[in-house]
Symmetry: C4
Subunit: 278 residues, 4 copies
């Protein structure tokens, strides 16, 4: 809305801050990302511990976790402010995938003041761990990911055909088992039977619902062998696709100074998301 | 029986109707298919809900679902009549795979008037969802499916050898476990033990039947490792087959105006199923 | 022991019988094999039914199955005698894999006269179903099987390394879980814990034994992810091997008239097992 | 610390002992390794049996296993001393992977004198079974292993991306299920829910914790299908990598006489770990 056609150049100190916060090419940038990842992992562990009944019953633990939670929230809030400050077009960043995730990392602590119990949603911070790809091997990882993504895009139609067929099979067999087994064996409704069919065809097999009649066991056996054999289809498809795929184009680790988008080609001069100069 | 050697040409308005109903190349044809898919999905959800005890006990829900069921049946009946009307050889369509499925989509509501409880069979409508392949990506999907089908046909003998071996293994180990474990551990008969062997070798593992003796556990362990390792065989076979398979021949999205058969080659002039002109 | 260096030529009618019984190239040979397969499948079903308590309690069923069992045994005994009669070197056939299996198919009925309950072992007849490969697609199937066998032989060292590593992992983690969880959680001894580790790493997951402590659950989680990820190793190995393997050498459907060995090359003149003329 | 720049040449009889103990090229060396493997397997079985309650309650068994344990420990101690004696730089061997494992194979018996119950740790001897690779097929196995290792190293970044994504998914879905299902269904805390998510996505499916609510079952179903479909990613990646990988470089079976490191190239003149002459 307030974006101009030509984004303003940033002051040199904000350019440097951008390099530290958004990139991982320099030692300072790498150190920033590593510290951030540790903070994210720590905040997730804190949220997890908070949910354990033994710990929630212990006043000392509760206090410690409360302090930790607000410390993490404070640090993430500062980080968010810095990120907003050192991109040329803050609104573009704010509306990008990582911009929204970064905001969601701060909100739960504040929301939990209003709605008790909502702090569990803080685990959405786990999504931020995906930033780790930038720290560890950088360009290498990004290239791999995009070569993987390309093979998956190429084999997507075949895998969609496979998933569609599996879904139709699940609905048909699930309904058939409802008719065959009936409520006495735990198949209390068609949705429940379909849930059972999913549990069975994916070979998870909880055992909370299991066929009791001879016919039900025979149908279930056929379904299991089908589920066991079917998985080879997408595997074969993706294997062939990966084998075909040419060596991936090198990808730069630079993040766009305008909107923070990543994954630009090594020789790209402009952001492919917003057209800003890199 | 009443089919003539040369199918009569359809009147122009029926040709147009054929284009809308059987194909998805035109905006109208695509819109028709999308609406149809939504109706199919809706009718499946209605049948599923009907089977949930809480909903079956609520008079309002029962009435609403009853109305929905007859509405869907009515719409599908109209669709079936239109389809019969705009193919040149209705009998050929009626006896084709989709013709039978389209008829089965209408019958359960009527049958349930005579035999209460049989409305569960209405989920056979799920098979009609496979029509989705035509809507979403069309030619692309059809090509993929047929390239997939070709690789599966080519690797079928190898996979048959694999399945045959697995079945013999299941019968032998299932029987051995009946002798080893006996009825006390839940292995009450050889068919039950064979069912257990299927549950185990496919790695589903419900746990409703599990070996109790040391020898039984040892045999079961060996069987699990075998089942875990065996799945690599068909996977490797299909992967190799897919990698070998040349780029698929393009496939047209046209359905035969005579019998409704699909999947014709892009340059085909006549239906490969009935020989009618496309 | 009584074998001569040069096997005697068979009389013409025994040559023809050999063609019918051991091969499936002629209509008579194919018919013989199909009838035999139906008999084998029938005899397995009879043995299975005999073990079902409801059927064992019904005098009519017991009588019918008793008659069926002795009929099948009689037919298989006649078949065995014919086979012995129409090979040039009966002892070689008697000591071959299928010769032993064919004998084992007859014995259980007689043994069960002496030792009641031993008729369950008659399911060993299931192994004879592997003869089906000869009937269904013949040369085609045999070639596939041997091309599969060649790829498996080629990738065997890699898969042995994989299985060895998995076994060591199972023993180490199984023992660790015995120390961590102890008898209260069902980990009553190291062998039991190792059995649990096999159930877990193969993703069967019965649930009869499951970790209860936090540390146990953490170790089990790591093991599950490892088991889930490890299966890709042999799959990748075999896929690569299959892709590399050249088109298989054609294989003849002829069985050696001396010893009954199968799988000879199409241009083979002598049996690769006993050196007899084909 | 006491290592010299130029390792002293060993006396001829120690050279020969090195050949027998560390290598498997000569009949004596192979015999030594086979005997050692049998001893290792035997000692593992003894430790396992010791933990079975029925055996631990029987004084005869306890005595026999006690004697066996100390016999194995004595033999392994002698073997360790011989190994230290016939390498040129004992400290290098003592600090190598196998050196540490060989020491750990002796310690548990002594430690169990001080801390009762610690003899379970003796199963760490299982790691020594990996020496089997040297005995069975030697150069062949080592080459395979290192070609396998090379493909895994090459596909590691792609597999790391996959594992990272799976972990983030597990944390997110695990936490969501804690909020959806709550403690009544067994989802007593976020760590427990995350454990359930691991059990489910790896398709192990114990069934000790399973969703009870309709929403929970729907989320779990989606997760199962995802877990079932996700495994194709690393499989495809490794298959493609293995297919690409060139025939492996031949590897020698020689162990370094200085430090005992293995896996040297066939034409290597110096140890790649310590630089000692081979």
């Amino acid at each position: 809305m307030t974006e101009t056609v030509e984004a303003p150049r940033l002051a040199p100190w904000r350019e440097r801050m951008h390099e530290v916060i958004f990139e991982a090419d320099t030692p300072a940038g790498k150190a920033f990302d590593v510290v951030l990842l540790i903070l994210i992992a720590g905040s997730i562990v804190a949220v997890m511990l908070e949910s354990v009944p033994e710990i929630a019953a212990d006043a000392n633990w509760v206090l410690a976790l409360h302090i930790a939670e607000w410390t993490f929230t404070g640090l993430f809030a500062i980080e968010y402010a810095l990120r907003m400050n050192c991109v040329r077009r803050p609104l573009r960043y704010a509306r990008s995938f990582y911009g929204i995730i970064d905001l969601l990392a701060i909100l739960p602590a504040f929301v939990s003041l209003l709605i008790p119990g909502s702090q569990s949603f803080a685990v959405v911070r786990a999504v931020r761990l995906l930033r780790a790809f930038r720290v560890f091997k950088l360009a290498h990882f990004l290239t791999e990911a995009s070569s993987l993504r390309r093979a998956m895009v190429a084999s997507w139609p075949k895998i969609a055909v496979f998933l569609m067929t599996v879904l139709v099979l699940i609905v048909i067999v699930g309904s058939a088992m409802y008719v065959i087994e009936g409520p006495e064996s735990g198949f209390t409704s068609i949705p429940t039977s379909v849930y059972w069919a999913v549990v069975t065809i994916t070979t998870v097999g909880y055992g909370d619902i299991a066929p009791q009649t001879a016919l039900g066991k025979a149908v279930a056996s056929m379904m299991m062998i089908m589920g066991y054999a079917l998985i080879v289809v997408p595997t074969g498809v993706l294997s062939a696709e990966m084998a075909k795929s040419s060596p991936a184009k090198p990808v730069s680790t630079q993040a766009c100074p305008d909107c923070g988008a990543e994954g630009h080609d090594a020789d790209a001069k402009f952001c492919r998301a917003c057209g800003g100069k890199l």
